[in-house]
């Protein structure tokens, strides 16, 4: 993937609306999946495992681009490969007791911490379950603001809310509702006990 293309994809993810972000994901997918599939199949894995590893890799990279921690020291494709490689290596070590990987592609060093985006504490997992009770509008609003990092103006456009102030008020209401649901969750309250 060339630099110009990378720049475009990064811009779509950081500044774009949902459609542009989806487009960036589709491009990343199409252009990088074959190499990851080859890596996994060549190293004792299946097509399903290749798909899982690749999708987890994209989630990590997507999170890092949105959070500003993707440093652009390598191309997106190279970095994605490195993340997927680390993910597959971890799985190989845990499930097949080996850390030998055969590959010929260039990769950059990545930190194990990068994979933290994929996992959560038990309490966080409990809150994820609570989302089902939240309703579609609140679900979207909270994800768009806190995860996708959309500005309120963009959220107003994406969700066709009247104006920024109304969106801000809705966001606060949704957050309070989520808080209430979490504090009513027996599962969560049990996890709080020392």
């Amino acid at each position: 993937m060339n630099k110009h293309r990378d720049k475009e994809l990064l811009e779509w993810i950081r500044e774009g609306d949902l459609q542009q972000r989806d487009k960036a994901l589709a491009v990343l997918y199409q252009e990088n999946y074959p190499l990851i599939q080859h890596l996994v199949l060549q190293n004792k894995g299946s097509k399903d495992e290749a798909k899982d590893v690749f999708q987890d890799g994209i989630i990590v990279v997507y999170n890092q681009v949105l959070n500003g921690s993707f440093e652009e020291r390598s191309s997106l494709g190279t970095y994605l490969y490195a993340i997927c490689r680390r993910l597959w290596l971890r799985k190989l070590t845990r499930t097949r007791g080996t850390d030998d990987i055969i590959d010929n592609a260039d990769y950059v060093e990545t930190s194990e911490n990068a994979l933290d985006y994929l996992v959560g504490t038990e309490r966080e997992q409990c809150i994820q379950e609570v989302f089902q009770q939240l309703g579609t509008e609140c679900d979207k609003l909270l994800r768009y603001f806190y995860y996708e990092k959309f500005s309120m103006k963009k959220i107003v456009e994406q969700m066709q809310i009247t104006n920024v102030q109304v969106a801000k008020n809705k966001k606060m209401k949704c957050l309070k509702r989520l808080r209430k649901l979490v504090l009513e969750s027996t599962h969560y309250l049990n996890l709080l006990k020392p």
């Binding site: 994901l25 999946y33 994209i58 989630i59 997992q125 809150i127 994820q128 679900d139 806190y146």
Partner: protein, 246 residues
């Protein structure tokens, strides 16, 4: 509660001022409830992340189905997408321009003409009968340009209640195509409680004439939300027409 949540957000985002951050950290050391709220907030953010990861996984599965599983569609990559995009863009612009012209010309002018009636001037106002009659003639003959020139003269010394004259000037400006100036006079006229409904009605019509449907509707809403007036029926009818896009 909202203040607490905002404060926690600002603290965790690093956007609190230095002094406030230090004060918050001091408070955290002793205020167990606040510490619990911060922990809960962090858990919620983590939960949102995991939830969105799950939603993202769903999207990626759909992409996988489309892009990887349906291999024959790869042949479509040979299409010159840039050229196709260019053609679609030009066609879209042409179609959009056509509809915009259609939309601008027909409904707005037609609707405005259907609803506009000049403000009716009461007879025999003011202290100078002759001046009043001259002014009235010009206005009723719809010689609005001459009307505006006439009332702008220094010799036009007539003690009409001033705000009514503002309404007439507004109508004259509106009918001579100067909606912006018209609205200045309507705003002045609106300060008089008796003339306020008329001023609001004409202000709404001035926005309609400019093609600013949104502002027209906002003025009509405002007119209808005030005490009832002679314009209410017309305002409701116009609002309905604009909302139905007729």
């Amino acid at each position: 509660m909202e203040n607490t949540i905002s404060q926690i957000e600002n603290y965790l985002n690093g956007t609190l001022k230095e002094a406030d951050r230090k004060a918050f950290e001091e408070q955290l050391k002793t205020d167990k409830e606040l510490a619990k709220e911060v922990a809960l907030y962090k858990d919620m953010m983590g939960g949102i992340r995991l939830h969105n990861n799950q939603a993202l996984k769903g999207k990626l599965n759909a992409i996988h189905e489309k892009v990887i599983e349906n291999q024959p569609s790869e042949k479509k990559k040979e299409i010159n997408w840039k050229l196709l995009f260019g053609i679609v863009l030009i066609l879209s612009l042409i179609i959009a321009a056509y509809f915009m012209l259609q939309k601008e010309e027909v409904p707005v002018k037609k609707v405005y003409a259907a609803y506009f009636q000049p403000y009716e001037l009461d007879d025999s106002r003011g202290n100078n009968q002759q001046l009043f009659e001259q002014m009235q003639q010009l206005y009723e003959d719809k010689r609005y340009g001459e009307f505006l020139t006439f009332v702008a003269q220094d010799s036009f010394d007539i003690k009409l209640p001033l705000v009514e004259l503002d309404l007439l000037k507004g109508v004259a400006h509106l009918e001579t195509g100067d909606a912006r100036n018209a609205r200045i006079f309507f705003a002045e006229a609106a300060k008089n409680p008796i003339l306020n409904p008329s001023a609001q009605w004409y202000a709404a019509l001035s926005f309609l004439r400019d093609g600013n449907i949104k502002a027209c509707k906002a003025n009509l809403d405002k007119l209808l939300s005030n005490d009832s007036s002679d314009y209410d029926d017309e305002a409701r009818k116009l609002l309905l027409e604009l909302e139905e896009g007729r």
